[in-house]
Symmetry: C2
Subunit: 337 residues, 2 copies
DNA sequence: TTGTATGCGTTATCAT
DNA sequence: ATGATAACGCATACAA
């Protein structure tokens, strides 16, 4: 391994000068700095991250906390795209990404402890369950953090416009003549609350009375529970003609239930998803869905987090950004005649 | 931050003793060690990863290199499951995962350089294109590494049984009476070669002559190219009755082409995928596919890598493991009458 | 058994 | 402009 010392020896200067030259700090002559940088390049010098981190308390490493209800967030297409966007932006700025977990050596630690152990510069939080005590502990600490769809006190947040998404979905269904529009909710969360607000707002504007039996509970990405929820809706005396699913993946459960019941989509019943997963473009009939701009959410999160990190001492005020969603009409909502 | 020094001060012992006690090293009295460990726990002591890494040249961090042809490996369901399996096992052993990239600060570096910079203990390589010069550079270095579906000289490797997978697929098609079995290849790679061997072996055993026009080229996960490849097959005078797709996702392109041509699956034509992506369970007709045990591949990779790391000096011989695949019959292969 | 001292590679302070 | 030196937190060889 090539160190500052090696270069110093070769150039006949002190380690200090080499450090200054390489970091473009003042205190070295133009010409010597030039010479030092050239030999550094020739030697293939690279700094040692551990030494830098130890000395500067900056690791240029970001912790990524992706937790969904099943601890399988990587399998979640929406999270994956988001992470990809986040990663791209972070790499541009020279940050590395580390997958956060709860282990240090043989021992189980909290998220915050792991952050301290690894001296992380910041954390990207994209979870479902924001009430996890460990998350609260993290948010209450001085570790810079940015989260998606849930604001922690004192921290920046990126929202996807969940309220507007469902609002648009309902409006679209209504424009096709639907008035019996049911809503299968994902798990209890701020996101779900927002969507419910959008749902109610749309109904109100449309003059459609809310019906409690049209709002049923499921879980995000849960095919089985959404299957059951759909069956519950189908068992109603006055069936809905359109169902809003918790998300695209869970919608598979809904589709299954409809198929079981002998109903064809969209001829017999209409459905709308949420997320805009890419592969649904290839499935017929194309799912009508609320497309979230996951890549944009990831990128914006990165921007905000970098901002928080680099103004850490300045106690900048946390920012909040909302990324618009877009209704993809697809083919699963048919006009009511 | 609580350091060894703080604990030493509190216990009235030296830093060295604290270090020994905490690491359960000999050279400390039972009782003092006990006392030290208790106060360490009370203080919430955690080691400093950077300091440990600097001192010991072990970071307990593994680099993850997921590169597919589009640099979007996180979106690849197969990779995601594999990574999940890998991650679980690595965490059990106290290793962190870092997403490898080619940036250090504002500079672009090679993969190997990044490994050195971060002092990574090992790298998990799951790519499509194993001929990347940077990969070769990495493999030629002393950085422990494990790869999937491609063996680097001197390194352990986990194979998914690609040859047997396609073999089984062809045999299954043949058992349904198919003899005109086409194969749409993924990009040039060892994996593709293996699959082709399985294909030819099966045909040979079945006494079905190979037909060059039944083997066409596409790319893994490439919907558009697989769409085109399928069209090419359909344009043949003597159409195949069954098509092996490069993988499940790419199969969407094939399905599209078939739909365009007015062909119904499996009534008019049969198809078989590869991977066994979970969500295909929810799509009708259920895709017949060769299911790879991605989770197992990830876990086994972790085991082999840990082994390589911990026997680094011992120059252990690289191991090679093959994980079996399983044919999922699904509903997209119909008997020929 | 215990403690002292050194060095890992870097940055930063303070002399020169 | 340049360099000697200390310190970051830890592990370890060695002395007591």
């Amino acid at each position: 391994m090539v160190t500052l010392k090696d270069i110093a020896l070769h150039c006949g200067v002190s380690i200090a000068s080499v450090s200054k030259a390489i970091n473009h700090m003042p205190g070295v002559g133009q010409k010597t700095a030039q010479r030092i940088r050239e030999t550094a390049k020739a030697f293939g010098y690279l700094p040692n991250a551990a030494a830098q981190s130890l000395r500067t308390n900056r690791s240029f490493t970001i912790g990524v906390l992706l937790l969904d209800e099943n601890n399988q967030s990587l399998l979640n297409g929406f999270f994956a795209v988001m992470l990809e966007g986040f990663k791209i932006r972070m790499e541009e700025q020279g940050y590395d990404l580390m997958l956060l977990n709860r282990t240090v050596g043989k021992r189980t630690v909290t998220i915050l402890e792991h952050c301290r152990y690894s001296n992380l510069d910041g954390v990207f939080v994209a979870c479902i369950d924001f009430s996890d005590p460990e998350l609260l502990e993290l948010a209450a600490s001085d570790v810079p953090l940015v989260s998606v769809d849930h604001a922690f006190k004192g921290h920046s947040c990126v929202y996807s416009d969940n309220e507007d998404g469902i609002y648009q979905a309902v409006m679209h269904a209504a424009a096709q003549g639907h008035s019996k529009i049911a809503f299968i909710l994902g798990g209890k969360s701020g996101v779900t609350d927002k969507r419910l607000i959008g749902y109610k707002k749309a109904l109100k504007e449309l003059g459609i009375p809310e019906r409690a039996e049209y709002i049923v509970q499921s879980c995000y990405r849960d095919v089985q529970r959404t299957f059951e929820a759909t069956q519950k809706l189908l068992a109603l005396d006055d069936r809905p003609t359109c169902i809003l699913m918790p998300d695209d993946h869970a919608a598979h459960g809904g589709q299954l239930a409809l198929r079981h019941a002998g109903l064809k989509v969209p001829d017999d019943i209409s459905i709308i998803g949420f997320d805009g997963l890419e592969y649904f473009n290839y499935i017929s009939p194309r799912l009508c869905t609320v497309s979230q701009d996951a890549g944009q959410i990831g990128q914006k999160s990165a921007d905000l987090l970098i901002n928080a990190i680099e103004n850490k001492t300045g106690e900048m005020k946390p920012a909040s950004v909302t990324i618009p969603v877009k209704l993809v009409k697809g083919e699963t909502v048919a006009p009511i005649t």
